[in-house]
Subunit: 360 residues, 2 copies
Amino acid sequence: MSLPPVLHPAGSTPAAVPYKRIATEEAWCPAEMLDLYRGVLEAGTLDDPGFQTMFSFYLNSDSTRATEIRDYLVDIGDQRLKHMDERGIDMQILSLTSPGVQVFEPELATSFAALSNDMLAEAVAKHPTRFAGLAAVAPQQPDRAAAELERSVRKLGLKGAVINSHTFGEYLDDPKYWPILEAAEALEVPIYLHPQVPPPGLIGPLLERGLDGAIFGFAVETGMHMLRIMIAGVFDRFPRLQFVLGHGGEALPFWLYRLDYMHRAGVRSNRYESMRPVDRTISEYMRENVSITSSGVAWGPAITFCQQVLGSDRVMYAMDYPYQHGAEEVSGSDQFDMSDADKLKFFQTNAERLFKLSPA
Amino acid sequence: MSLPPVLHPAGSTPAAVPYKRIATEEAWCPAEMLDLYRGVLEAGTLDDPGFQTMFSFYLNSDSTRATEIRDYLVDIGDQRLKHMDERGIDMQILSLTSPGVQVFEPELATSFAALSNDMLAEAVAKHPTRFAGLAAVAPQQPDRAAAELERSVRKLGLKGAVINSHTFGEYLDDPKYWPILEAAEALEVPIYLHPQVPPPGLIGPLLERGLDGAIFGFAVETGMHMLRIMIAGVFDRFPRLQFVLGHGGEALPFWLYRLDYMHRAGVRSNRYESMRPVDRTISEYMRENVSITSSGVAWGPAITFCQQVLGSDRVMYAMDYPYQHGAEEVSGSDQFDMSDADKLKFFQTNAERLFKLSPA
């Protein structure tokens, strides 16, 4: 066994650096949401083996990982600020942890999204230089989700939306969800497309070997979701709309060449009704409508590769707290092989521009 | 529309270079196999929407892509050699196209694998400096597959095995298939883990938007398969066994950091019965038991990234004929940003060593 004894070794606080470290994909939730998840689990009515395995673990396991995450998620006050200080994080951009409200019945989903946005705005108001937030929305009610996004941005000062991939196995390429996309474009705020566990039709062989979650299934689900959006022509309809992908862009940057080649082949061959000509190539959409973050991928080779192929304006830092929160990963990210100018963009100014953060 | 008018523009033959271009993932099949596939399709008894969509297209479409592929696949003589000459390919390592015999009932699968291996060996015997071959085997009958691999290597001179990912939704991490792996290790030949379309439990939302095949689903299926093998401890049981992955290693090189992190987290948390401690990390297995090829990824940034993180001894050239065969991709690959020494390894000597090719 070559596994180290702990996942997050006690590291010293990273050194002072000439940029703010803005962590862009940091999770939280009200304690009440975990109670609601427990209710969903116990009712046994949600046909979603991915949700069941994930929250059977996170709600019930006495492992260090699960107990730590339960504890850290629900705090958006002093404990979180202390962890940020210890790890050298200047600011967190907070979003409601996956799957957010997207497993609730529609009325509950919409009302709980609003409640959580109010709570998040309150934490931001208390610590405006340390926290910013993305709005939770309930795709189950698209028009109300659009209205909640508008309220969250205009009234609460939140900086965009988070959508935790599928909603009961449906994706944002379905035009019924487009009111949300229209609102985001009009408000000029990005949508963070965050992973969740794949739905029943996409999880079988992953689940058999524990590959459904962050290790692999998250990227399958979320990379596919982003591709569905591009292939459906969403960015032709909403050309200024901006998305954010975490986890090194869910590997889509690695695939740009093959995606362009096979998308072209698919369109030209008329093989699929659902793959028709669109205005631009996949790599063009990726470079013009998508930014990516380093959440969970504190690894220079992959992140500098993403800068190389997407441009350094589209790659941002993230930690993925509390799922991943080692101080040694922050220090390691400081050492990435990039120019000082690119490092400033990566840790600070790309996020400030995209999320329209006020200068401190 | 920014798509060029043809997929494979007429390019001039690539320039002479100081290395042999050995293409390591090149597909063929007997014409009879396409007839058998047509029979499977028409019988309607195979519960595999991926196979249905793929071969409804490839067997029936009058698109340039489908007609060309039908024509090119079944020739392992003069036409193929002419195409190789035009594209500057010195040698092809041939394998039975996906899904090979893995959709047939067991007896047919085993007997057709042997027949196709005999045909392949005959083509190699006619053109020993231009062709080498990998053996088709039928996982449906593991002991007979192991025997067929031994016959193919010892009697026919084939250089390894090709397995087209799942067999009726099952994977090589299941110990019932391990006689095949044991034979490959004992014979000191690699297994090329080639993609096929994901099985029913892993295809739903991919298929809805035409993402089931080479554009994305192939990598989901095959990357997952390789991970299942590593996580199950297959390389602890068979430490000298070597696998090959195409398509830039199905993006696993991009994921090494996250795979190691989340595998460690998964093992430590005891979340899954099917994810128990193994001897090495995912990145160690990747660097010690897996080689990758550039099939379908004629793109310097991704391929040199793979060399950087796996080592230049584990990255080989492939074209993916006839699915992808542009002369401009060969010329482009000649221009990859790597040292002359690494380029020699990439195009020639890694393949010669791994597949034990005789010097010309």
